[in-house]
Amino acid sequence: MSCRLSLTWFLATVVSVSAADLDPKKVAFFENKIRPVLVTHCYECHSDKAAKLKGGLLLDSREGLLKGGDTGPSVIPGKPNESLLIKSLRQEKLKMPPKNPLPAHIVADFVQWVADGAIDPRTGGSSYKRLSAEEAKSFWSFVPPKQPAIPSLKDTTWARTDADRFIRAKLEEKGLKVMGDADRATLARRIYFDLIGLPPTPEQLDAFVSDKSAKAAEKLVDDLLASQQFGERWGRHWLDIARYGESNGNSDNLPFPEAWRYRNYVIASVNADKPYDQFIREQVAGDLLIPKDAKQKDEFLIATAFLALTSKPRAQNNPDYAMDLVADQVDVTTRAVLGLSVLCARCHDHKFDPIGTKEYYGLAGIFNSSTMLFGAGGKGAAKGGKGGGLLELSDGSETMGLREGKAGDIAVCIRGDSTKRGETVSRGFIAAATTKPTSPVNRSQSGRKELAEWLIQGNPFVARVAVNRIWLHLFGKAIVNSPDNFGFLGERPSHPELLDHLAVQFVKDGWSTKKMIRSLVLSRTYQMAHGHDEASYKTDPDNIYHWRAAQRRLDAEAQRDAILSIARKLDMKPVNASLAGGAKVNPKKNVTAAPEVFVRSVYLGVPRGRPLPESLAIFDAANPNIVVAQREETTVPSQALFLLNSPFVVEMSVATAQRLMAEAKDDSARLDLAYRLYYGRLPTDDEKSRGLKYIVDEVSALPARDKSPEGGKATAWASFAQAMIASAEFRYVR
């Protein structure tokens, strides 16, 4: 709500021309001769009040008049014969008004008015106003981040890191009390899930809890950051953004059998702590970079699959096909890197952010000058669309990706219609979002290489967007709570100085994601307990200011992988293949649903338009068709039914019971083990007696034929293990 209020306030304060500066005679001429005609004959179709705005032209404000509509400016002051408005009134061009041409003397008034400079005292008026480039300069996200002063605190002992100091300062300002530190076991479970998406084993738990050294947490974090599993978890966060999918999806749903190479490239890049700027550079322009060897060349080519992975509409009967593919590339690039939504400018100037259609087509021209290679999965290719084929790698295998095409600028598609073209736009970047000059587009190439540099260096967004997402994944709530929209309609940062501090620090640390995560996980803020405080809860129920650790639901992959690993059914080996189409992907056949295979979830197949394995789909896994910066967190009955009845959960419960039977000597020890496996702690006395009673009762309730001591026990333990899987304490991290 506050957002909408501030919008109204903002529009009301934008007044460009003061009527007092204008020649009163000319103003009178406008008021007597021009305005009444506009109101009577034009506003019906060309004003803010029009039921349906025609031709994108607004004649109810000076700004709209000068800017014109789809076919260009309507008035060129001083030049009536060149003004489209006059040509239209003269019935030479667009023939306006459409049914009843105006009498000659009125047309003559318009000619005189334009010849006299088209004086127009109107201001405000249209609500189609947006942040101008000038105004954007002071809008928070368009101002480059600067290192803010580290706040000084009343309490000088609490904070461990500078991030803590920013958090603590805000808490002191709001009069909120901080929660105490989390106990060691809770902290271990939190760190394991956050960094590698798996629970600590009982041995790992013991090792951390009993390590009394001051460096215990540092050691744990360093170990986990160095593990293969770290990239499997944090790579998935990027794959959500990259709308990673393994089939065409939209129409003919053919697989992308080589897409997995990109998935594994992302995982490997995260594990190598590839500097984030380089990570972006490779994905936007990898094919244009100079590799140091064949292996790196392969990596660079695979990276560009980022821009080829989209679901593709059919080319047939779709004149907009080529532009649709380009639209996805513009969309995914700008939202992934800048947290800005630019796509609306495909059809009209962005309504709120300073991004015009010209800028959109400047970017679109860059992608249009490249060729998208997506293999047989783009059946459209065979039917007149561009694309098809793959890029060859050094070992003879192939990858999806981009290569240079015919370099050239493109014309604006009026209202997004490729068959109606406006002026040709020079390839370039978003002017209003440029805060540091970078190299302009190399005219003889596509310009992706220069675009990559602009994305990394030329704008104020990239580092803030990146650290905001890291914060989101560690704290459950982003500093800017609209992580893929840093524009005018996005949320404002809860801690603007902290965000800038982190952004500056991130760049200073060589764009190292691992260093950023390490520093945040070792902060006091991260290591707080999740407790309750009545006063704090009243003041800040959503925990915006971080007075306690958030309670977060395990995401789909972490929950599934945890269930599997506790059951000892998880195959931890990385997968160098696509699992989207069953055992073997046939590039000529439409994909089917991805099979449930007991590998880490990140490696499961992601066929678009087909159900993902339920174990993921029901728990809000990312939709592979859209850019997902923040997942939903829904709580619905289908989740309950999955956990109570699905063959997957039943199978894992039975397997877990076998583990409990084998690894613990009696029921008391089994209960301890089960609690340690699922909750990362021992049961309380009450829990223990309740659990043991449950086992006794279930064994005695079994039909006589199942009552062999072993079989009866295992069945009861399977039922108990399933209850633990279904319980909220397992499904959440706190």
Partner: protein
């Protein structure tokens, strides 16, 4: 006007609404959750008085021929063999007369083909839309356009939009159900939530091509535990959840989990009950054409399930049938396809009327596009998106009328054209929602089902 609700607002509100229910004691089976305006599936008031409360969409995949069913074109018979002037494809090729007879039906005397003699008995309740048109004469694009209002990008299905706008009347059942949808032509996207919260996606029953008698709704059947054992297990789960809630003092998320188990447990009983056709008497089963070996058995079951779901308060039920892509073998295949569905649809309309449901249940029939007036060979028709037919019945639409018209040969909508977007706008209007105001913000933009398009076809509203 519906306020702009962000995804976060909906989700934030969700556990709170659930929590209230959980602790207020469980309400009766069909009563809406108290205070549920805040929960994503709780019933919400429409934006203005609604004519219809629920929809049954009989979705004919493949592009059924309007020229042989609901768009009577005497000139097509007279001019058979002459060069076709209209239609998306096969212009200039020989016009093909319909091999089927049309007759005036009911008091209104609207013409309906002999293929639909049972449906025709309800002629005075039918509103034939003869001027449908859409952008692309290809199956996947048009099927997605019909379902989501967009064919290039992933957008929420119209059922998801309705559930988002109106919630569900029955908290023990899913609010949006699709029976036997095709796995291709966009598959799950056609009944998906896209960027809307996942709570608004459809529950799928079966697949096109698999008889619905063999269809299973996932995870409703606890095979591994007896009923009592499962209740005891659920009690344990809830006791564990309650412990956590007590420890946390205030915890809407855990309250949400607790409630999802009670709802799920009740849905596990309710949904199979609703789908259990053995609860119907033999006369009803016979009326729908249900019986082993009968051509009408499968679609009859689907229609009866749809009636039972609608009766139980499900907001949007889609029933799928195919494949109507009659490039060849037109005469024989249309006879076969219509033979499978005519009696069941006739029975559905009779049944809805009998139970008084037709007043506020909108029934829609149609596919993604129609066929060309020119023949494809001697006995087939090609794709045509320029003009085709659908029909509406009940739910506040006028009966016994034809609205809009194609040209003399039926190739192109020329009078009062109704685009898929207009159909969507009209459906939302009948359900009490303004298609320009039912919005959702995603990625910094407000989306609607109809985008910048759509006109409410007021002429067909009673």
């Amino acid at each position: 006007m519906l306020p702009l609700i962000s995804r976060r607002d909906v989700l934030k509100a969700c556990p709170a609404g659930f929590g209230y229910l959980a602790f207020a004691g469980l309400a009766g089976a069909n009563s809406p959750a108290p205070g549920s305006a805040a929960s994503p599936l709780g019933p919400k008031a429409p934006q203005f008085a609604a004519k219809a409360k629920r929809i049954i969409f009989l979705c004919m995949r493949g592009g059924p021929s309007h020229l042989d069913t609901f768009d009577y074109k005497p000139k097509l018979i007279a001019d058979a063999g002459k060069a076709s002037q209209s239609g998306d494809r096969r212009k200039g090729q020989a016009l093909l007369a319909s091999p089927f007879k049309f007759e005036p039906r009911g008091q209104s005397g609207i013409h309906i083909s002999e293929l639909f003699s049972n449906v025709a008995k309800h002629a005075d309740d039918l509103c034939l839309l003869n001027s449908l048109n859409t952008n692309v004469p290809n199956h996947p694009q048009s099927f997605q356009m019909l379902h989501t209002g967009e064919f290039r990008f992933t957008r929420p299905s119209m059922g998801a939009w309705l559930l988002y706008g109106l919630g569900s009347e029955n908290q023990n059942l899913p609010g949006f159900v699709t029976i036997s949808p095709p796995a291709d032509l966009g598959g799950a996207q056609n009944y998906g939530n896209a960027f809307l919260p996942a709570a608004y996606q459809a529950t799928r029953i079966g697949d096109q091509g698999t008889p619905v008698i063999n269809a299973k709704v996932g995870n409703l059947d606890p095979k591994h535990l007896s009923k009592d054992a499962q209740r005891r297990q659920l009690d344990l789960v809830q006791a564990m959840n309650q412990d956590l809630l007590n420890r946390n003092a205030v915890d809407p998320a855990v309250e949400g989990v607790i409630n999802s188990y009670e709802l799920g447990f009740r849905m596990q009983k309710s949904l199979p009950d609703v789908l259990d056709l053995n609860k119907e008497d033999s006369k009803t089963l016979e009326m729908y054409g249900i019986g082993k070996g009968k051509a009408t058995d499968d679609f009859g079951r689907q229609c009866l399930m749809a009636r039972r779901l609608a009766q139980a308060g499900v907001r949007f039920v889609e029933v799928g049938h195919g494949n109507w892509d009659t490039h060849g073998g037109l005469k024989q295949r249309l006879g076969q396809l219509c033979g499978q569905i005519d009696q069941p649809i006739g029975a559905l309309l009779t049944d809805l009327k009998r139970t008084g449901l037709l007043k506020d249940t909108l029934v829609m029939w149609g596919g993604e596009f129609g066929r060309t007036p020119a023949g494809q060979g001697q006995d087939g028709r090609d794709h045509n998106a320029a003009g085709f037919s659908m029909w509406l019945a009940g739910g506040g639409v006028k009966g016994g009328m034809r609205f809009g018209a194609t040209d003399d040969h039926g190739g192109k909508a020329v009078e009062n054209p109704v685009h898929h977007h207009d159909l969507h706008a009209t459906i939302l209007h009948l359900m009490g929602l303004d298609h320009q105001k039912l919005m959702y913000r995603y990625g910094g933009r407000d989306y609607t089902l109809t985008d910048i398009h759509g006109r409410v076809v007021k002429e067909v509203i009673a």
